[in-house]
Symmetry: C2
Subunit: 219 residues, 2 copies
DNA sequence: GCGATGCTAACTGTTGACAATCGAGCATGT
DNA sequence: ACATGCTCGATTGTCAACAGTTAGCATCGC
């Protein structure tokens, strides 16, 4: 807690609180008192205030006016909501990407795809997840729609957020990398096949949601 | 500027600034100095700070760390971006609405539709616009996806925001109410026809975007 | 004359204190 | 015993001042 070069102070506070909430150290419904937190972090209430606002924006906390801020509980339904939105915006994204992507863009997309496959192949789940997200982000960027990309980023962070809750165990159980879907998406974009790309994205998410929600991993 | 019962102080400040920006009194690129604004509104820098953060979230201003806040310029491209996203999430919304809507829900949807048509019929553009938005919001609510609804609300406010800029004149020129599309959407949902509903939403937005962007309103 | 360096002014990020507001608990009246 | 009103404590919303940083400019050296 010493250096803190430039990375907005309240951002680091938000990170710390986010970790505590997701790790279960702060139970759902707990009160987040500005004064307490300010003292605990050794700062004033200003940055704490901003951090709480950020958490509220992310859905991790809820702010009752004149009452205080409380940590909200996240369930599987939340993750389902996020996936529905991701599917919708990514289908739109690939349709635009098909029209706008240059050859260099397509090359970059293939590169991202290879990274995902390589990471999965050598069993490096951590980087595989990151590369996975980067791949999705890549074609969202190719859409040329800044707001769409920002939206994806928001939903992506929500995804990793929700994955870190109780769902984490369950999600990691029956997980099989959706690499083939990724390849289908990339190929369809390269072939300038909008419908095919959108369908591939749809199949990707149907597959993922089935893995996560449909059946209990009781075997 | 006296009463201000409870409606968050910074919200009224944000409203005032938003108006000034959209009315052109604050040119794009202008600096929004916290101290100045605080003095102008007769408050401290705290609420002003929150108001500027809100404007930044809305995309009306951009915040450079340690530099200040500047009003950003909005173009037709922004409105196009918003419509792309609205179409994507509303297509997803109607698909969900088809599965979840009760008979009472469908009745409410038809009611909203009638309000839109009535307002358009008697030439009351102002309420027609509001009713129009309410209709769209209605089926987004029926999706049962809270995040999706929140997203729609955000995009809806962005729409009215962008409509108030220079686009306002242009938009109001060649405008023809897309009532038939509304009816198609409502009917498809009532018929539990997911593909039809999504297609209707798609056609609606294709029509709207054509009206707005495709051709200059040069007669 | 031109580039680098140090200064200055302005603005943001942060701080600790003050005031307004809300909920809980208690006293009081019925 | 129950409802009602009041007071008190706790907590947020707000404020004015301080410190750190950045951009712009003048000065100095080459």
């Amino acid at each position: 807690m010493t250096a803190l070069t430039h990375k907005q102070l309240w951002e680091t506070i938000a990170d710390a609180l986010r970790d505590e909430i997701l790790d279960g150290h702060l139970a759902a419904g707990s009160r987040l008192v500005e004064t307490e937190l300010a003292e605990r972090f050794g700062v004033s209430r200003g940055p704490v205030r901003d951090a709480l606002a950020e958490l509220a924006r992310e859905g991790l906390a809820v702010d009752l006016p004149r009452r205080g801020t409380f940590v909200s509980s996240l369930t599987e339904a939340d993750l389902d909501e996020v996936y529905v939105i991701r599917r919708a915006i990514e289908e739109a994204a690939v349709r635009l990407a098909v029209e706008r992507a240059s050859e260099a863009d397509l090359e970059g997309l293939r590169g991202a795809l290879l990274e995902v496959e390589a990471a999965y192949a050598r069993g490096d789940l951590a980087t595989a997840w990151e590369a996975d997200m980067s791949f999705h982000r890549a074609y969202c960027r190719l859409s040329g729609n800044g707001r769409l990309l920002a939206l994806f980023d928001e939903m992506a962070s929500q995804t990793v957020l929700l994955m870190r809750t109780a769902l984490a165990t369950r999600a990691s159980l029956g997980w099989t990398p959706p690499v083939e879907y990724h390849r289908r998406i990339a190929d369809a974009i390269a072939a300038r096949d909008a419908d095919g790309a959108a369908a591939a994205v749809g199949d990707h998410y149907r597959y993922t949601e089935d893995r996560l929600f449909a059946s209990e991993p009781s075997g």
